[in-house]
Structure formats: structure tokens, C-alpha cells
């Protein structure tokens, strides 16, 4: 059974894939991260799970702050146009999500809905990293994959894996922070956060 919060996560995901403005995308991605933290808090039944849920909440706020800072620091003179139109992007994302749901086995049938949402988010993240030219959207792609995996991990593991769960959250957030540093440098060097400008290295 998929609840409202999980549907919201999917909806926010598709929204980010479709929108053009970075600030709108950051708002939607933050909504998705907060929905994930909400699910974690709702499902928490032990102190370890409550800690993990709190970590997800802090991460959502920290990433939102970082992304808002990035958007304000790197004002684009004009939006970076994606090479693929929004409707086709959304179509590819939905197809990718369906492919992953079809391909990946789900051992625990009671958690089928939540696992399907997780797989969809991972698929959305991969499609976004592949189809968007703006570096900030590629960072959001990583965050989507991260959100999907965090959702998959919720309730999946017993208490002893708290370190792994927190580690994954921290690790992927660190990747997003490092990517943000490079987004900032790329903007300073190239005048835009556009990966189509990163084309010097070819054989």
C-alpha cells in the first residue's frame, strides 16, 4: 500500500524533472526530502529508528539551505535549456521507473509499495542526471537516488545497522556537498552551470 507521503515523493520527483527554474526545483526537492523524513518519523518504533528519522530531517534542512545558497550565489543570466523537452523527460523517467519495478525482485511483499516508490525515485534520479544539462539538476539527481535508497532502507534493517543507515545518509550528503563545491567552481570558471560547456575532454 502506498501512502500519501510516498505519492508526494513521486509527485515532487516528476515535478523536478519537468520544471525549468532552479528555485522551483529546489523547493520541490526539499519537499521530497521532508516527506521522506516524515515517513521515517511516522514509522519509527525504536530509539535507533527515531535517531535515523531525525538525521533525515536534519539532512533535508541542511541540503535545502545549501541548495538555496548555491542558487543565490550562482545566478544564471538565462536558464540552462535541457537537451530533452519536459514531456519527453517525464516519459523517459516513468518508463525507467516501470522498468526498474519490473526488473528488480521484491522479496518482502508487505513492503512492495514502498519499494516500488524507492525504485521509481532511483530511476528518476538516473534520468535526471542523464537528461539535464544544468549542473544543479544533476546534483538533484544524486539527491533523488539518495532519497529513494533511504526510503528503501526505512524499516528494512534492524537496529544494528543504524551506523550503516546514518553512514549512507552522511556519505551521500557529502557527495552532494562536494558536487555543490564543483558547481560553484564551474559557474565561476565557465560563467554558467551547464555541462554542455564541459566538452574539452574527448578522444
Amino acid at each position: 500500500m502506498i501512502g500519501l507521503a510516498e505519492w508526494l515523493m513521486v509527485g515532487f520527483g516528476l515535478g523536478v524533472i519537468a520544471v525549468r527554474r532552479r528555485s522551483t526545483a529546489v523547493t520541490l526537492a526539499t519537499g521530497q526530502a521532508l516527506a521522506l523524513a516524515g515517513i521515517a518519523i511516522y514509522q519509527a518504533q525504536s530509539i535507533n529508528e527515531a535517531i535515523a528519522a531525525a538525521a533525515l530531517g536534519i539532512r533535508a534542512v541542511a541540503l535545502a539551505t545549501l541548495l538555496v545558497l548555491l542558487v543565490s550565489r550562482t545566478r544564471e543570466t538565462r536558464p540552462v535549456r535541457a537537451s530533452v523537452p519536459p514531456a519527453i523527460r517525464c516519459g523517459i523517467a516513468v518508463a525507467m521507473a516501470l522498468l526498474l519495478v519490473w526488473l528488480v525482485p521484491i522479496a518482502n511483499k508487505s513492503r512492495m509499495g514502498i519499494t516500488q516508490v524507492s525504485l521509481s525515485l532511483v530511476g528518476f534520479g538516473m534520468v535526471m542526471a542523464a537528461t539535464r544539462r544544468a549542473t544543479l539538476f544533476q546534483i538533484l539527481g544524486i539527491i533523488f537516488v539518495e532519497n529513494g535508497l533511504a526510503l528503501a532502507a526505512l524499516g528494512l534493517t534492524n537496529g544494528s545497522s543504524l551506523i550503516i543507515e546514518l553512514g549512507v545518509t552522511l556519505d551521500l550528503s557529502l557527495i552532494a556537498v562536494v558536487a555543490s563545491v564543483f558547481h560553484d567552481r564551474i559557474f565561476a570558471e565557465f560563467g554558467a552551470g551547464d555541462i554542455s560547456m564541459l566538452s574539452d575532454l574527448r578522444d
Partner: protein, 489 residues
């Protein structure tokens, strides 16, 4: 007598300690402190490595740590290459003017990140479960991406960005596979993620196979196996030479060890045949993609990067073939590749100073214009090409023989053909670089550089490489290889 457990904590702790110390030190003390840190971390690594390799019976397999002879071998490689990379970094930093941070903070930030990266790198072969290994490998991505793009130049930023995005998405796929395995392992969570417990799934064969493929494809993106290797030539060619050496000689094989341990663990559920077929497929595709690039007149570091792709492919084949001959070949290949590749990348610093155009063009006639530098580059390239009597010839021969031994004659024949083409390409590059025409050089554009350090490293490397060839004769019947077969069957 210090126990292996304490030694392993020291191996991980010393680089972290020096990373913290460097943060608070005055700028002028950073290079000398880094040298001390390099020696100390290298020394602890050697002690641990010798202990693990000489006393395989004292192995420790826990939830978080695995201390076995294979871990010892990899810690030795990381220790040697890490120490050399730190020692050679000051000369690189002295010659470079650009960086992503201000000049005043450049050395501090560089060495701090380098020591953190080294600590994570040491931890990868010692990780006792796939979850911890994933965390550490992803941690190396974050730190090494900063080092790849450290110069702040356009090409370096491009390479770092590609590296970060492609490997992060790839590792996300791996984590998805790990989550699926954790879901279906006994007890769930961490208990199901240790190397020993990974083989106790409650899931079906096909479900476990899909999870295995997801994990392996994810790790392949970090190892640099084709077709998910796109970041590798860029990152290895644009990073500073000491970092390129560390990435190619230590990071790629360490992640390969994680994939190897994982493959061996899940083979209890999905069968060794399926595991070996997937590894052989990665190996063959990597070789096929790499070889045409070895025929192109590429810049030095880019040539070495494509050679990494080729050698990771050979290692995948060796692991995929299994058997004493192939696995002995894998051990020799990992060590020989680490020595030759790090020497090659270390030669790039004086090369770029001697002939700045070689950052974008294939160097030519270096043996004539700077014989000592040419000798070091020659030793590296001759080894990487598999020229006898150097050890990669012996290891490739052992791996191919292992293929025939284990009934993979057709694959081994195709691989041998591809290796022959790769050999011709690299020998062609060798001849151009060493004895090629240097007339096109504008004599004024060539800078006289101090190459004594790299030349000495080259001579020591040659001695080690020839010693390794000698070892190759005895290794297939050695206790080490029998131990590896026992653990990784």
C-alpha cells in the same frame, strides 16, 4: 608484540591524525610534517601487511574488519603508493600555480584531503562487510574528486564533475542491490551484509542474481570496467600526477577487491558459473574498448589511463577464470601494475615541466632529450605493455593459461589476441616516446628538469619488477594462492 587488530587501527588512525594536525600547523611546516606522516603511515601499513601475509592463520574476520592475506597485500600496495604520492606531492605543488583554494591555504587543504583519502583507501580492503565497504568506497569518491579537480583548471573541473556524477549514480545502483540483498538475508540488516553471511539468502536464485548484477555494475562504474568507465580516462589524465598514481595503482584495485570478495560471497547462492561469466564479460568488454585507444597517439597520462582500463579488464578475466594459475596471475598483475603505473604517473610531473606540450599531445623523443626521464617512462610503459621478462608478461601468461586450465579456452584465446593488439599499440607508443623524432620540439620550449628522484624511483621499480617476475614462477603453488582459492572459491 602488537596485535594485527591494533596495527589495523594504527594504519587507519595515523593518516587521520596527520590530516587533523595539518589543519592547525603553520604553512611552512606542512611539507615536512606530511613527509613524516607519509613515512609513519607507510611503516604501519608495511608492518600490518607483513604480519598478515606471513601469518595467514592469525586472520580475523569480524563484522567490521577483515584481516586476511589479501587485505595485507592491498594494504602494502596502498602503503607504498600512498607514501610515494605524498612524498612527490610537494614538488608537484611547487610547480603549479592554480588551485580551487587560495594560494595561502593550498598546501594545507591538499594534504589534509590527501591524508583523509588515504585513510579511507586503507580501510577499503579491511572492510568486513559490503555495507561498510560501500560507505568507504563512496567516501573515497568525495575526497578523490576534490583532489582530481584541485587545480581548478577547466579540464580538471570537467573531469572531476564527470567522475563525481557518474560514479555516484553507479554506486547508487550498487547500494540498491545491497539493500535488496539485506532485505532477503537472514536476520536482515548488518548481520546479513558481512562477507561470510552474504551467502545465506532466503531469496530465489534469479532474485539474488539480479541483486548481484546491480551491485557489480555499480562497483564496475568505480573500478572503471567498460562500458561504465567514461570518467576514468578524464579523471586519471587531469588529476595531479601523484593523485593519478594513487587512483590508478591503489584505488581501482582496492574497489576491485571489494567486488571480488562480494562475488565470492554470493557465489554460494547464485553459483560460481554465473559469477564468473559476469566477471569475464566485464573483462572482455573492457579489453575490447581499451585496446583501440592504445593505438592512438595520446598524451602520456591519458595513455596510462586507457592502460588502466585494459589492466582492470585483465584482472576481471583472471578472477573470472579462477584456478591457481589465473589467481596467481591476478596477484602478480595487481602488484606489477601498481609499481609500473605509479612510476608512469610520477614521471608525468618532470615530463610536463620538461615538455609542457605533452599535457595535450603524445610526447616524442623523450629518451633523446632527457634520457633519465625517458628511462623511467620506458620502464613503466614496457611493463604495462607486457614485454618479457617483466612481470605483467608473466601474469598475463598465467591468467591466459588459467583460462585454458578452467575450460575457458575460447575466451582466453580472444583475450590473448586482444592483449597482443594492446601490446603492439603500447610498444609503438614506447618507441615514439623513447626513441621517436624529437626534431619537432622547439629546443627553447624544452625545460631542463631535475629527474634524479624519478630516475631513482625507476631503478628501484625495475628491481622490484624483476623480483616479481622471479616470484611469478613459484606463486601458483604457494600458500598465498591456495589461501586465496580457499577464501574466494
Amino acid at each position: 608484540m602488537i596485535s594485527n587488530l591494533v596495527l589495523s587501527y594504527l594504519v587507519l588512525g595515523v593518516p587521520l591524525l596527520f590530516a587533523m594536525v595539518i589543519i592547525v600547523l603553520p604553512t611552512q611546516a606542512i611539507p615536512s610534517t606530511s613527509r613524516i606522516g607519509a613515512f609513519l603511515s607507510g611503516l604501519t601499513a608495511m608492518f600490518l601487511s607483513i604480519s598478515l601475509l606471513c601469518h595467514p592463520k592469525t586472520e580475523l574476520v569480524g563484522k567490521w574488519l577483515i584481516l586476511d592475506p589479501l587485505a595485507g597485500l592491498f594494504v602494502a600496495i596502498i602503503g607504498a603508493v600512498g607514501t610515494a604520492s605524498i612524498l612527490l606531492s610537494p614538488s608537484y605543488l611547487r610547480d603549479t600555480s592554480s588551485s580551487v583554494v587560495t594560494l595561502g591555504n593550498r598546501d594545507r587543504v591538499f594534504f589534509c584531503i590527501l591524508f583523509i583519502f588515504l585513510a579511507m583507501l586503507y580501510a577499503v580492503p579491511l572492510a568486513g562487510n559490503i555495507g561498510a565497504a560501500w560507505l568507504l568506497v563512496e567516501g573515497t569518491t568525495a575526497t578523490s574528486a576534490l583532489l582530481v579537480g584541485f587545480s581548478g583548471k577547466r579540464r580538471a573541473l570537467e573531469a572531476a564533475w564527470k567522475y563525481l556524477i557518474l560514479t555516484s549514480v553507479g554506486m547508487g545502483v550498487a547500494l540498491l542491490g545491497i539493500a535488496l540483498l539485506a532485505d532477503s538475508s537472514h536476520g536482515g540488516g548488518l548481520g546479513g551484509l558481512t562477507w561470510k553471511a552474504l551467502g545465506t539468502f532466503r531469496t530465489s536464485h534469479s532474485d539474488a542474481l539480479i541483486a548481484f548484477v546491480l551491485v557489480l555494475v555499480g562497483f564496475a562504474s568505480k573500478i572503471g570496467w567498460a562500458p561504465v568507465h567514461n570518467w576514468l580516462p578524464d579523471a586519471h589524465s587531469e588529476a595531479s600526477p601523484p593523485i593519478s598514481g594513487l587512483l590508478s595503482a591503489a584505488l581501482l584495485p582496492s574497489v576491485l577487491l571489494v567486488a571480488w570478495r562480494f562475488s565470492a560471497a554470493v557465489s554460494y547462492v547464485i553459483g560460481t558459473k554465473a559469477v564468473h561469466e559476469v566477471l569475464i564479460a566485464f573483462g572482455l568488454v573492457s579489453l575490447t574498448i581499451a585496446v583501440p585507444f592504445l593505438w592512438q597517439p595520446l598524451p602520456w597520462k591519458r595513455l596510462l589511463a586507457y592502460s588502466s582500463l585494459e589492466h582492470m579488464g585483465i584482472l576481471a578475466l583472471g578472477i573470472g577464470f579462477g584456478g591457481p594459475l589465473a589467481l596467481a596471475g591476478v596477484v602478480i598483475h595487481i602488484v606489477g601494475h601498481a609499481i609500473a603505473k605509479s612510476l608512469g604517473f610520477y614521471s608525468a610531473t618532470p615530463l610536463l615541466a620538461h615538455d609542457p606540450r605533452s599535457s595535450k599531445h603524445c610526447p616524442s623523443g623523450i629518451g633523446r632529450s632527457c634520457p633519465k626521464l625517458g628511462a623511467s617512462m620506458g620502464i613503466s610503459l614496457a611493463t604495462l605493455s607486457g614485454l618479457p621478462p617483466l612481470p605483467l608478461f608473466a601474469s598475463e601468461l598465467l591468467i591466459m593459461a588459467g583460462g585454458f586450465e578452467t575450460g575457458h579456452g575460447v575466451v582466453a584465446s580472444i583475450a590473448a589476441l586482444l592483449l597482443a593488439f594492446g601490446f603492439i599499440g603500447l610498444i609503438q607508443a614506447f618507441l615514439t616516446i623513447i626513441t621517436g623524432d624529437s626534431h619537432h620540439h622547439n629546443a627553447e620550449s624544452l625545460v631542463k628538469v631535475r629527474v634524479a628522484g624519478v630516475f631513482r624511483t625507476g631503478i628501484v621499480s625495475l628491481g622490484l619488477l624483476l623480483g616479481l617476475t622471479y616470484i611469478a614462477f613459484f606463486l601458483p603453488s604457494s600458500i598465498l594462492v591456495h589461501d586465496i582459492i580457499y577464501r574466494m572459491r
